[in-house]
Amino acid sequence: MRGAKSAKWVVGAIVVAMAATACGGGSNDSGKGGGATFRLGITEPKSIDPINAQESEGTLVARQLFVGLYDVKDDGTLAPKLAESAKPNDAGDEWTFQIKKDTKFSNGEPVNAEAFIRGWTRVATKASASDVAYHMNGIAGYKELNGGSSDKFSGLSAEGDYTLKVKLSAPDFEFDKKTAHPAFSPMPKVAGAGDNKSFNDAPIGNGPFKMSGSWEHNKKITLVRNDDYGLTKAKLDKVELAILNPANGVTLEYKGFESGQFDWARMPVPQMPGAKKKYEPQGEWVKADVAGINYISPFNETSPMNSADARKAISYAIDRAEIAKGVFQGLQEPATALLPPNFKEVYKADVCSSCAKQDKAKAKEYAEKAGLKPGDTLDFGYNTGAGHEEWVQAVAKQVEDVLGLKVKLNGLPFKEALEKQQEKGAKGIWRQAWSADYPTADNFFAPLLSTNGINPDANGKALGDNRGRYSNPKFDELLVKARQTKDATERAKIYNEAEKLAIDEDQAVIPTWKRTQYRLVNTKKFTNVKIDFYEDPNLAEIGVK
């Protein structure tokens, strides 16, 4: 029985080891409903350090920890933060920012022009391989720094302690708006290089909140008010962000709100009508048209979508109002422009004539002009598992009914879908959506519709965001002209002209629905809770009852 005995020991040892890990559980301090603690659920961010903070969850935290030159109001206009003034030169290729004096990082380091240069350089430097660095690619010296041939950002310089000079490689009178992105945050010396892991998980910043402890991965992030904040201080004492798994996160947020464990929540789409009925009368239902757009992207280069007439035929055939009412239960609204309504300065409704309402006669007329015949095949691609199935099918049915086309639905997982769209010979139409990084029309038009936005590699694969491959030199010229125009009203006019050209005349893309967001908010305890420009709660402004 010698062998048997040793087997017993092995098993015994493993059981003991596992029991030991079982006892190592964390302490349980949930369930205390502290005074002014705002609680919500997010999914695990990629990064909360501005070095690589990109999706909504990551930038939510980064924007509480850091404050830069500007923030964006929910109507798309700038709210000055540390910038006391911003002056472009007459050519628009050099900006001078006056920075608010005597503010500090929470470790006491001064927030001066050097701190901004340090922060921007840290993001753009090659070793950081940052996904958000490209927001800085208009600054002189970006190529050298990002390409690794220099470790200085030659376009940036400090004059005295509080004057930041920024040289651009091409004129851009809207550069100030870009700096609202968290990538443009100032950094203290203690931050070190971009891969400083301990700083990545517990950044020391100058924002309205600071970290309480480190980021507990997949568990929680706790923020506390920064009482040394140099601007208007937050009223909340604490923000608790529970980290939920993406597979079930939205459901948990909603359940958590219902059981009083969250003060802010998203909802699963099927639950929305019910939630609206229940929470709207209590004032706990918040809605915002945010800075994004849902659209259909036709492949402009290949048949059958290589003529404006063909694209218009599809657009006229879609009954947006019907789908908004049926599939979306009135929770999404048809879009009639590519720009979102909260870009107050440039937004114009009804830019896209074919979007106004379904017009079967016009649809057929344009189809005939384009040579689209009943029975022809139209490929319609979309990414699966993101809730697009129902409306995509509804659109396909309408196009089939009106034009007699055979719509071939092609649902693929996200990565495969992307690969397919990038292919050189991609044809038909594809579902698309876009959200703004900062409140400029350029942030929609340049990546989505300019020739540079196609960015083909050696094999002709479209690496940019203009995957529909729309290209019109006249449109490109308008964009350059707009960037060079100092006067905001004049500039808006040029953008309107550009939008008219691409969306109405050329029908480069087919707008479908606005990006509308809904949240549940605990208004019994908190006041002034809003969905901000980035679709997050406006934590620094929330009041307590």
């Binding site: 098993v11 369930g31 695990e44 999706e55 798994n245 993406p246 965001d465």
Partner: protein
């Protein structure tokens, strides 16, 4: 015995490398550049894509990539994940502990409920208790685990508020996911236990033991229990292996930060280093537990000689 164990461990190593090789090949075949896009609809800056491909060695042929992976694996280095750029061992370490705790809790509930219910049902055959066990186990096996999980969650967390809705890793928040995992298995164990016990109770050596005048207790414990528990041990061993690999659905429902959670999110993100890490670990656990179960047979049934 010693030789047997060594041979089995040798086989384990081969299985493990085979598994990683197959995985690697599969991930390579999958369409889509693993670092080619950001989440959402936005394309990644091509300059960054190139930097990352270089950083993760994705620009090298698959054979070289696999060679590097294996060399690092032997050193205990699983590489860096693609989304957060943290060490895979650091990402998976806490998750492994969490999954193991949950698995142990589930298996304890599983064994206690399953064996007891099976025992009672077999000893009091056709009684009220037997019928009750049969009924309940039928229900438990019939319901998918996500239904059980969601019902438990909305009853005890949302409505009654007895347990936290969002697991924070504490003992309290482990109870419901553990029950959810255990219920179906417990039902199967109960049925298995009942069946084998009824068989053993009819066996000649049990009749002999009773005829010899041994006390009922001794007969039950020494003769009946010991012999009827062998299939149960096999079953529990396999199911424990499955549990240690991580529970995909249950972990998602209760937000339990374990290996299943890691696998689901990493597949969504195309985060290959995590996928390879989780699956390699899952295979390792399974192989090790199978070996342990085989060794346990020898302990429980002296007739089985391992050679």
């Amino acid at each position: 015995m010693g030789k047997y164990v060594i041979r089995r461990i040798g086989q384990m190593v081969v299985v493990l490398f085979g598994a990683t090789l197959i995985l690697f090949a599969c991930l390579f075949v999958l369409p889509g550049d693993p670092v080619g896009s950001l989440g959402g609809d936005k394309a990644r800056d091509p300059a960054v894509v190139e930097q990352l491909r270089e950083r993760y060695g994705l620009d090298k042929p698959l054979a070289v990539q696999y060679g590097n992976y294996v060399t690092n694996l032997v050193k205990g280095d699983l590489g860096e994940d693609y989304t957060q750029r943290r060490q895979v061992t650091e990402v998976l370490g806490p998750k492994l502990g969490n999954t193991a705790r949950l698995a142990v809790a589930a298996i304890i509930i599983d064994v206690v409920i399953g064996v007891l219910a099976g025992l009672v049902a077999a000893l009091f055959r056709y009684s009220f208790w037997d019928v009750l066990v049969t009924l309940l186990t039928t229900f438990a096996i019939g319901f998918p685990s996500f239904v059980i999980g969601m019902v438990l969650q909305s009853t005890f967390s949302v409505n009654l508020g007895w347990f936290p809705l969002i697991s924070d890793g504490s003992f309290n928040s482990m109870i419901m996911p553990a029950f959810t995992l255990a219920i179906i298995d417990a039902a199967l164990v109960a049925r298995l236990m009942r069946g084998t016990m009824l068989e053993v109770l009819r066996a000649d050596y049990v009749k002999t033991a009773i005829a010899k005048g041994l006390p009922r207790r001794t007969v039950l414990l020494k003769h009946v229990m010991r012999n009827s528990i062998i299939p149960v041990v096999t079953y529990i061993g396999i199911s424990f292996g499955g549990l240690l690999g991580g529970a995909l659905i249950t972990e998602a429902i209760f937000n339990w930060d374990g290996m299943g959670y890691a696998l689901v999110t990493s597949i969504q993100q195309g985060n290959n280093p995590i996928i390879v890490g989780v699956v390699t670990y899952g295979v390792a656990v399974f192989v090790v537990l199978n070996l342990l179960v085989d060794l346990l047979y020898a302990v429980l049934d002296p007739r089985i000689r391992l050679s």
